[in-house]
């Protein structure tokens, strides 16, 4: 999968390419990652959602997360329970501040392989230095 090139080509070039060490770069990277997750959701929705649910359950295990820390996890659990695939994709690729906020606590980590994740990171860097 040439995830990086494909995803980066869909990022809004007019927004400008931020450099490593900036919030904008981190936001761009998270969006690019979720554009790839959206592709996986279209291809294998059940497997992707099941993995996201497993992440949420694992983070709730034990007492590491108190009531305050659990809020973002519960928020995502509710989204997964109540959303069809189309709505999920809209949420994770939403470019608004609310979309950025939700991506920051996304349960879709691990949807892509580590290699695919690094490919997207490298593509974001390349875009930033082009």
């Amino acid at each position: 999968m040439e995830a990086g090139e494909k995803i980066i080509s869909t990022l809004d070039a007019s927004a400008g390419a931020a450099t490593l060490g900036s919030h904008q770069f981190l936001d761009d990277f998270a969006l690019a990652y979720h554009l790839a997750v959206a592709e996986r959701l279209r291809e294998r929705p059940d497997a992707v959602i099941e993995r996201a649910r497993q992440n949420l359950s694992r983070w709730l295990e034990g007492d590491a997360f108190g009531p305050g820390e659990r809020q973002s996890i519960e928020e995502w659990r509710k989204i997964l329970d109540e959303s069809d695939i189309g709505r999920l994709i809209r949420i994770i690729t939403d470019t608004s501040e609310e979309g950025r906020r939700l991506r920051s606590s996304s349960p879709f980590v691990g949807t892509l392989t580590p290699e695919e994740r690094l490919e997207i990171l490298a593509a974001c860097e390349q875009r930033a230095t082009a």
Binding site: G21, H23, R58, A64, F65, G68, S72, S105, V109, R117
Partner: protein, 93 residues
């Protein structure tokens, strides 16, 4: 993120970035003055670390090892964002 998680993350940033004292910026820095932080701080699963004089290799290492969507986040549920001075807005004084 609770205080224990923040301290864990700070230690990991110290090791990954090779800095003695990572600077916590953003909302999580409230833990420096109180443990009774607002819900908005507790519910956040990320923390911004200001890495002075860091270059691309260090920023990249933090993202790769303990950043967003890393194996670390998948395991623990929280992660670090490394930022440079240019991206941080500090109050005067």
């Amino acid at each position: 993120m609770n205080k224990e998680q923040l301290l864990d993350l700070t230690e990991r940033v110290r090791l990954v970035a090779g800095v003695k004292l990572p600077v916590i910026v953003g909302s999580q820095s409230l833990y420096a003055v109180t443990s009774n932080v607002p819900d908005s701080v507790r519910r956040s699963v990320e923390c911004d670390f200001l890495l002075l004089a860091a270059g691309p290799p260090i920023f990249r290492a933090v993202i790769e090892q303990i950043g967003f969507a890393s194996s670390f986040q998948e395991t623990h549920g929280y992660y670090a964002d490394a930022v440079g001075l240019a991206t941080v807005v500090l109050p005067a004084g």
